[in-house]
Amino acid sequence: MSQAAASSIELRTSPHLRSPKTVDVIMRNVVYALLPICAFAVWNFGISALALIVVCTGVAVLTEHVYCVFAKKPTTVGDWSVVITGILVALILPPALPLWMAAVTSFISVALGKIFFGGLGYNVFNPALVGRAFSQVAFTLPMTTWTPAQLPGRFFEFIPTSLTIPFLEPGSLQGWLSSVAPDGWTGATPLQLMKSEQTGTEVSQLLFGSVAGSTGETAAVLILVCGLYLVVRKMMNWRITFSILVTAALFSWLFYVIDPSQYPDPVFMLGAGSLMLGAVFMATDMVSSPETRLGVWVYGVFIGVMVVVIRLFGGLPEGVMYAILLGNAVSPLISRVTQPKTYGAVRKNRKQAKEGV
């Protein structure tokens, strides 16, 4: 059935009604939901964050558009999905990352994470995370250099490394930090503090985001509220978010009960790092998550467990990115083994179905 043949008869057959929720409408609403988080990021980290968001989004959109021009097909930027990718890339990068590195990350996200697989609907992984995984390896040091939130001069002055000349390594931030950072600044995120020194962070700080971390991942409560908007408008699968968060909380609570001095409490687990952003906006990417009801729960639980395992027992302080990428990788498999049970299925059919999968 060629597309042309299908669309020429499609005009005349039922159903004659369509839900107004089309792909572009959904994607545009996700962008709306991300905007408050962007605003908070700018308030938290200043003009460096603003520049980061603008650059990442611009590069992402441009990459897709230019590709479409070269591939001689109508541009697909109108479906808004690439805007989401651009914004998400910015939100998961450190605020002090040189802008040129951010641009590369954004380019890789769209080119390798999305276009390479065949564009929207075919990407196996969440494109933003593909870019970030690439940069984690390519730019290890700048990707793990953190700056304090809410510095006094943040609205007037770039973090010096932001403006590094393209293709040069950024200079050290030590000198600048020692002059602007508050006393006791260690250059570590709450997760790193926990990993290396078993020190917790004030809960209110975690929930409201005035901590060091990636540009848009710090304000757990705000992210949750923005996600709620999408849930209410039925444009996001809350089951994924819910299952990830509940699994991560329960699983980490288990360890916390065993040894509170060694392991963080569940609230810390949920509030710190990019778990909230990941669970609300990245694991829920429709394309790279399973499409079946049961599959979605399995996927969420899987990611929740992986996050805790990597955070507590892996070599890295943060595991959300890898947990979601792993979840993406197994999601087709999950879909396949969780096919819905058909209404009125008779035995024979069920057996056939099993043979089929």
Partner: protein
């Protein structure tokens, strides 16, 4: 199409239903408060010989012959077939090919209606239902030419003879009318509640069923109330109000909601002790059988924003659509007409198609609405799972759609292609605008052809 917002019914969540399904805008407000009215007779009627499932009827009359309203004009050809009765007093002019809503032209009796005739039904004789045996009743039902008036047009008497070994313990009367816009059944339940009960009793008697449940949705509370007033005191017939959700009116969904039974794939409702009849059919049965008359007219909802005088009208079988639309002040073409509801109905090929027994409504959309709803932009499947969550049969339309696009028609059996009853929920919700139902129709055809080619 969001001309009206959804009615908010918080209590709905406590009502019974099936799982999955969708909530399109109901749009019943055009006609739900309009009592059933009679339209005048046209000058010519086109009575199709094949307006039921099964073999076409065989004409009993010749061109030039006079017929009296209600007189049999064609006989059933075998068991799965139904006779026809003259919808008006007049003269048979010829037997001709006329357009049908599905497209191909089919044979019809062309009857010229005598003008000025009172058009009283003189044919038929009163019967004492209580004194009749089961076999006599079934024969009487066939003689009345009654078929499923909900749309399928399956001869009713066939359903009344369930396969050997199937015992019917419950008769379900389907008053859900879940398609947006349509209000035929809704009005019938109010305006002819007594006939509905009479019909239900006859069905119970024939099938030997001890109880019957009339199911309707909670957007039709007035209908439920109207029926409750005339329910028999012995409690054998009850009314149940279920959640308003599409496609609640599908047989399988109704069985699930009312008595929590699943009709196994590929089997009849009788295999789980059920027999399901539509409200319009049951009303007609209750009205005709005691009088020994045949089906000569039906209630048709003509509705939608594109027509000036929407309403529920009694129309003689065979009335050309053009005549009705003109009476209602519609000047446009057939292009924006849909026969049946917007979810499962077909577009109309021509205004010359006649009304048949199975046709319960015409929906007239504005050209703009048509554009909005059919020319939706197409995106690739984004695996959102909306279709999976909407499919009342719990299929995986996304997966089926992918296989169809790859022309892997035979592989679609594994995903229960033939359990799909083309309700349209998946296409409705798909944000990518993929014409899933369209794919499945083609796939079923291809699948059958491929199987026939290589046994």
């Amino acid at each position: 199409m969001s001309s009206t917002a959804h009615t908010f019914r918080p209590l709905s969540i406590f009502r019974k239903s099936f799982s999955h399904g969708i909530h399109p805008a109901e749009n019943k407000h055009y006609t739900e408060h309009k009592p059933i009215e009679r339209l005048p007779f046209p000058s010519e009627l086109y009575v199709l010989l094949s307006q039921h499932a099964g073999k076409p009827a065989v004409p009993l009359v010749k061109p030039g012959q006079e017929v009296v309203r209600g007189e049999p004009v064609a006989r059933a050809d075998g068991f799965v077939s139904a006779p026809l009765h003259a919808p008006a007093t007049g003269v048979v002019k010829r037997i001709d090919l006329v357009p049908t809503s599905k497209g191909p032209r089919k044979e019809a009796l062309v009857i010229q209606v005598y003008p000025g005739e009172t058009q009283e039904v003189l044919y038929g004789q009163d019967r004492d239902i209580d004194a009749m045996s089961k076999q006599e009743l079934i024969q009487a039902v066939q003689d009345s030419g009654l078929v499923g008036l909900g749309g399928a047009a399956f001869p009713t008497h066939v359903k009344l003879s369930p396969p050997e070994g199937h015992v019917i313990d419950t008769v379900l009367i389907n008053g859900c009318e879940c398609e947006p816009y349509l209000t035929t059944d809704q009005r019938l339940m109010i305006d002819q509640a007594a006939d509905l009960i009479e019909g239900t009793k006859i069905l119970m008697k024939i099938l030997g069923a001890p109880r019957a449940i009339i199911g309707t949705e909670d957007n039709k509370i007035a209908s439920a109330e109207a029926i409750k007033k005339v329910l028999p005191a012995d409690g054998t017939i009850t009314v149940q109000v279920v959640r308003t959700k599409y496609p609640q009116g599908a047989e399988k969904m109704l069985a699930k909601a009312l008595v929590n039974r699943e009709i196994p794939s590929g089997q009849y409702p009788s295999s789980v002790g059920l027999a399901v009849f539509n409200v319009a059919t049951t009303v007609e049965l209750g009205q005709l059988l005691p009088k020994g008359q045949g089906v000569i007219e039906r209630v048709v909802t003509i509705t939608g924003p594109g027509v000036d005088k929407p309403g529920n009208y009694i129309v003689p079988i065979g009335t050309p659509l053009r005549f009705i639309m003109k009476k209602l002040g519609y000047e446009g073409s057939a292009k924006h007409l849909i026969t049946g509801g917007p979810m499962m109905g077909d577009t109309v090929s021509s205004l010359d198609v006649p009304i048949t027994k199975g046709c319960g409504g015409f929906l007239v959309l504005t050209p703009q609405q048509f554009e909005e709803n059919t020319l939706s932009e197409r995106f690739p499947c984004i695996s959102c799972g909306s279709c999976v969550d909407a499919c009342p049969m719990h299929l995986n339309p996304a997966q089926l759609g992918k296989l169809a696009a790859k022309r892997m028609y035979l592989d679609m059996d594994k995903y229960h292609l033939f359990d799909c009853f083309e309700c349209g929920c998946c296409s409705y919700v798909c944000p990518a605008g993929i014409p899933l139902v369209q794919y499945f129709r083609v796939s079923k055809k291809m699948n059958r052809e491929m199987k026939a080619a290589s046994p």
